[in-house]
């Protein structure tokens, strides 16, 4: 059942192990930070030795990666620290090498790490979702108040990936020196973070330094928050991020979940009533017609526009006559 609560954990406390799974080649070592006990999906820090090279190929799982230190060469270019990749399942990456070595954070989202040698994408791959970016130089920091209620001033973010359906996000965040926020938070989603640099503090778990990590299931209290000298981290949430703030350090996950449901009842009573009545409790949720509606498709007859796209035949021509008899 999913990944367990791993918090706090510091990857500096364990040694790298040689990656022996097929496809990855020699010179790759790793530390597992968390792993899903059903799917094998995992997050790991990875060290590539100088001179490492990897064949072109795809993974059965979608995966993400950010360069922590060092450089990678791929596709005739060099990428450096802060470079982020989102790679859909089945997407054939070019050959990758590291002349001088590199330290990476890799996240396999839907299955264990895999690399199948290939130069063509898998037929099922959603190739349009692939993207990579130099997050340090090509994205600017934005205020962290992207959701309400929001974090205090002093948290900044860079959004790296966003799922418009689930609202899952991958983002960089930083805390400015002397940041503090005096509340306790929990979310309706799982949350993950890896400290690329610096130390932050949470009232439940103490200091999280460089290399510090957590995978936190939904509804678990965290905060108050502080960072004496600042930090920068990569964060992820697996669905919509909502900050349920409070100040009771002894509430449990079930109590927090009930409070979240109570707030839905208070805010959206009609929707809540519908959801809990008439057996509308299918585990995969009710039907979303936007995902199931029949579409015209390519062979639909007479599917070309009949107008130039500027017509509104419902508009009435405004004819104004000075000699009309007006009632008023």
């Amino acid at each position: 059942m999913a990944r367990p609560h791993i918090e706090p954990f510091v990857d500096r406390d364990i040694a790298f192990k040689n990656m022996l799974l097929p496809g990855f080649g020699r010179g790759m070592s790793y530390k597992i930070l968390s792993m899903d006990n059903e799917t094998g999906a995992c997050t790991m820090t990875v060290q590539l030795a100088g001179g490492y090279s990897q064949v072109p190929g795809f993974s059965w799982s979608e995966w993400e990666m950010i360069v922590i230190e060092g450089e990678l060469q791929l596709d005739g270019r060099t990428v450096r620290k802060g470079h982020y990749f989102y790679v859909p399942a089945g997407y054939a990456m070019p050959a990758v090498s590291s002349e001088k070595g590199a330290l990476l954070l890799m996240m396999y989202n839907t299955g264990e790490p895999s690399l199948v040698e290939a130069t063509d994408h898998h037929a099922l791959c959603q190739t349009n979702l692939y993207h990579d970016v130099d997050t340090y130089l090509d994205i600017t920091w934005a205020p962290g108040n992207i959701v309400k209620p929001s974090v205090a001033s002093g948290v900044m973010i860079k959004l790296l990936n966003y799922n418009p359906i689930s609202h899952a996000m991958t983002f960089l965040y930083c805390m400015t020196p002397a940041f503090y926020q005096d509340n306790i938070s929990y979310h309706d989603c799982a949350e993950e973070s890896y400290h690329l640099w610096g130390t932050s503090w949470m009232m439940q778990f103490g200091d999280v330094p460089t290399g510090g990590y957590f995978w936190r299931p939904a509804y678990i209290n965290h905060g108050a928050f502080a960072s004496e000298f600042g930090c920068i981290a990569l964060g992820r949430v697996d669905s919509k991020l909502y900050n349920h703030f409070h100040y009771n350090p002894w509430s449990t996950p079930v109590q927090n979940q009930k409070r979240a449901a109570a707030r839905v009842y208070q805010r959206d009573p009609l929707l809540y009533r519908w959801m809990v009545s008439y057996s509308h409790n299918h585990p995969h949720g009710p039907e979303d017609f936007e995902q199931t509606v029949q579409l015209r498709g390519k062979d639909y007859p007479n599917n070309e526009p009949a107008t130039d796209g500027h017509q509104h035949s419902h508009w009435h021509t405004h004819e104004h006559h000075h000699d009309d008899d007006h009632d008023q």
Binding site: C42, A224, T252, P253
Partner: protein, 100 residues
Amino acid sequence: MTFKNLFIEHERSKEEQDWVEEELAEQGQRFEKIEQNMRDLAPERARWYEEFFDRLSIRGFNADGDQKVKIKREDLPVKPEGQEDRVVWKYGTESDETEK
């Protein structure tokens, strides 16, 4: 986890299965160590809770962003009698014995 959650069906080899099982076993040990460390932190955390309550009543609770609300001392919560100060929950709500 995130995003389109596309997983292309394939058969996991014995080598991959063994690798996953070995890593999960290590993760189990790691979790137990974390859980113990967090139990050991409880006395210090109790002091942090009291300092937190002092800041809430003197400087204020961050209700939304920088909006601060001072909490009266009489409105601060009390630790439920007999309840352990627990901060690690292996599978979140599934690991919580509170009546669901």
